[in-house]
């Protein structure tokens, strides 16, 4: 492939590429538009300008995941430029017309999420006019007797099934301060590439100079809080428990098979006080399940790699495909409890957490995910009792750490954050269920019953 831009321009751009990497900025160059292979030839030219080690190229044609999840996962870490040969707008334009306004909201919120979490987005729309392009056809590379087709798996989205007017509306409605659109008319091959190179130079300079102001969101506690109705006196007899456990586990096994054949997936989130019994609840669930259909994800502190991405990235990885179940033992809700309390995230980041999480969950729920989030609850006194029991039992001492005692001292602070978290994120598409677990038997049955009821309802 002959490079179409001058050596000087290439040097300028690679220097800027280095400056962005040096400042640990994450940058996305998103190309959208029509024009099939002609557009791809243009993008290939842009890719070839940069140092291969700092860029990641993605072509959405392979995406099987929901668009937002796919794009989020494929945004490269800090210090890297991600080039998307089509991205979430291709997702939107390929989706049902009736989802359009939902999708526009989603795209805007997604770009706002990226902006606030330090990812720059440069959006370039390549305007395609068939008549005009015909005149310039000769300036584009000749495809080798159709051999190029092996890479042309974008055939089905070569031309969107929507009018110019609709596209223009879409661009207008998604042109925000978080990510503005640049529109380039596709004409002569070399001219078009040059125009784009100039544009990228301009945008890169802009990014390096413009200060960023991540936003602070208002805390909106609008959802009901099921913790208010907790009744810790509830108990269950051993006989009753064993009968119900067997019955519910059998039912759950059947429903897992039904889920496996459906186009839905299930995500179970387990949060709760230390020693509340999360592990025991999870185990009663997994015992009922076929291991081929579920995965559990314990959530330790984020790794260096995970920290170089936006905070939801590491969870997006583990969202299950249709037919599968994912069980999170702690979750993305760390950002609304331990992280602000221990200072692992800033006040600004905490203020945005609920909005960002609701976006994440709603987009997945809209696509294929059934969410249930459990808050496993005990009283302060019960926790003390369990800590003391653990301390006294040589077989259980390992379960108790100094950190547990330190967290216990902050019970009141945690409780404030927990209630706020639930009131901000107990949505219809991803509801919180508070579980009384002072009596473990009662708690485990409530968890199983909730999952069974939810699956029954959702799979009918």
């Amino acid at each position: 492939m002959d490079l179409l831009i001058s050596k000087e321009k290439a040097t300028t751009l690679t220097q800027l590429e280095h400056d962005l990497a040096d400042r640990k900025m994450a940058t996305v160059i998103l190309f959208e538009g029509e024009g099939g292979m002609a557009m791809s030839h243009i993008v290939n030219q842009i890719v070839a300008i940069f140092e291969p080690r700092n860029i990641k190229y993605h072509c959405v044609s392979n995406a099987k995941l929901p668009w937002i999840q796919y794009c989020l996962l494929n945004i490269a870490p800090k210090g890297t430029i991600s080039i998307f040969d089509r991205g979430w707008y291709t997702g939107i334009l390929s989706d049902k017309e009736s989802n359009l306004s939902h999708n526009i909201n989603l795209a805007n919120s997604f770009e706002r999420y990226l902006y606030n979490n330090g990812v720059n987005v440069i959006k370039i729309f390549l305007n395609f006019d068939e008549d005009k392009l015909k005149k310039h056809k000769k300036s584009y590379p000749v495809t080798l007797d159709g051999e190029d087709d092996v890479f042309n798996d974008l055939g089905h989205i070569k031309e969107f099934n929507v009018s110019k007017n609709k596209i223009s509306n879409l661009l207008d409605q998604t042109n925000s301060k978080y990510a503005t659109w640049d529109i380039i008319d596709m004409g002569d091959y070399k001219d078009t590439v040059k125009k784009i190179a100039d544009l990228i130079e301009f945008r890169f300079n802009d990014l390096l100079k413009m200060p960023r102001h991540p936003e602070k969101f208002d805390i909106i506690e609008a959802c009901p809080n099921p913790r208010e109705k907790l009744d810790f006196t509830k108990t269950m007899s051993k006989d009753d428990y064993e009968k119900k456990l067997a019955k519910l586990q059998k039912k759950l096994a059947e429903l897992q098979i039904k889920l496996a054949k459906s186009d839905k997936a299930m995500v179970l989130v387990f949060e709760g006080w230390d020693a509340a019994g999360k592990g025991g609840c999870i185990k009663r669930v997994t015992q009922a399940l076929n291991p081929r259909g579920y995965k559990t994800f314990p959530v330790p502190a984020p790794t260096t790699e995970e920290k170089s991405h936006t905070h939801l990235w590491r969870f997006a990885k583990s969202i299950p495909d249709p037919g599968k179940i994912a069980i999170f033992d702690r979750s993305w809700y760390g950002r609304m409890m331990v992280e602000p309390i221990e200072g692992f995230c800033s006040e600004l980041e905490y203020s945005r957490a609920a909005g960002e999480i609701n976006l994440f969950e709603s987009s997945l729920a809209k696509d294929h995910v059934i969410f249930v989030k459990f808050w496993i609850d005990i009283t302060n006194e019960e926790q003390l009792k369990r800590f003391n029991d653990r301390a006294a039992d040589p077989l259980k001492q390992w379960k108790l750490t100094d950190e547990d005692w330190r967290n216990r001292e902050k019970w009141d602070v945690y409780e404030k954050y927990v209630n706020s978290m639930i009131k901000q994120t107990n949505t219809s598409y991803a509801p919180w269920v508070a579980v009384e677990c002072v009596d473990k038997r009662y708690g485990r049955i409530k968890v199983l019953q909730t999952i069974v009821d939810t699956l029954k309802k959702e799979l009918d």
Copy 2:
């Protein structure tokens, strides 16, 4: 699912599970055998014993990768137990008969690799006798009107197409001190599960008590060293270069399409002196390629997550699927240069590196990967000149670090390791090509020419 083992036994096993996690041991429990769903029911019982947060379950039925690569990638990190519901032996028994002795070697070497790199392997073969099992059929869970089939995607390997005698030979030939076989006869459901639980308890205790002695390998420098024939006086005129570059890049683009349609993949490794021109060579290659068909992988220091796995894990992730090209900008050969020199790996680990790497490359080459490994070479004087040029040029200063100067002081040590590396790993299935790059034009053309020649030969 009713748990078939006693509560006491379960407590003992979870305590041992915790002890293994506490010592940061990585442990694989590999189940192999016939008996389809009956076997899966047994494995599910074992999975249900443990704390979900410390185990990872894998069923090989989804494996599309080469078996060794799939298993290596799915072995969980230190502190975790990986349960394989069938693994590499199912791979071997499903493979062509003519590959058997090769595969046996591979399995033994793989287990030796795991042993030496701190992964425990417990291999359990479930012996299946159809007549005997018929008597016990009633003890197994009733499948729900065939509904279970949704998870029974192992149908095609329900019974291996080989005689009992062959299986017995396979077990015998792969019963090594690195991973011994335990054979359990499948009988009554509950009895079988109990036997396995006892066995695992025994093996876990063994692992916790037995000292480990990772091996030291002999350094065998048996391969030819192309560095001995380097001629740094070679140059190429600008005219000649530009003509050849255009021609080779065009040819490479055509060959990429041919590769994309084949069942082969290509892995290009670039190693070389600092400032030798690796980046420039890589760029001339990628400029010719369609971005949809290749990925580049710069190799920085390993992350914490990567360090919790065996050293080849992070590279196994990036081995391309058929049709694709992967370009490594530095590679797994760090273990034979910077790591031993800077003390990032032990003398023992260095001694084993070539054997482990040759195993990795040969198994992939046997499967679908075409390897070319480039050593980009310059003279000591040329490096000094380039360092000084970089230091003097404000646009290039970022390319030069203090570390570069420190490494330069160790030129002689590096040279010794480089020569030894090449003489240990310049194999027929993954050859090293030494490239004179004092004249960058000459070097880049040699790289392109080598890739084109290799693809032509391999794809014919």
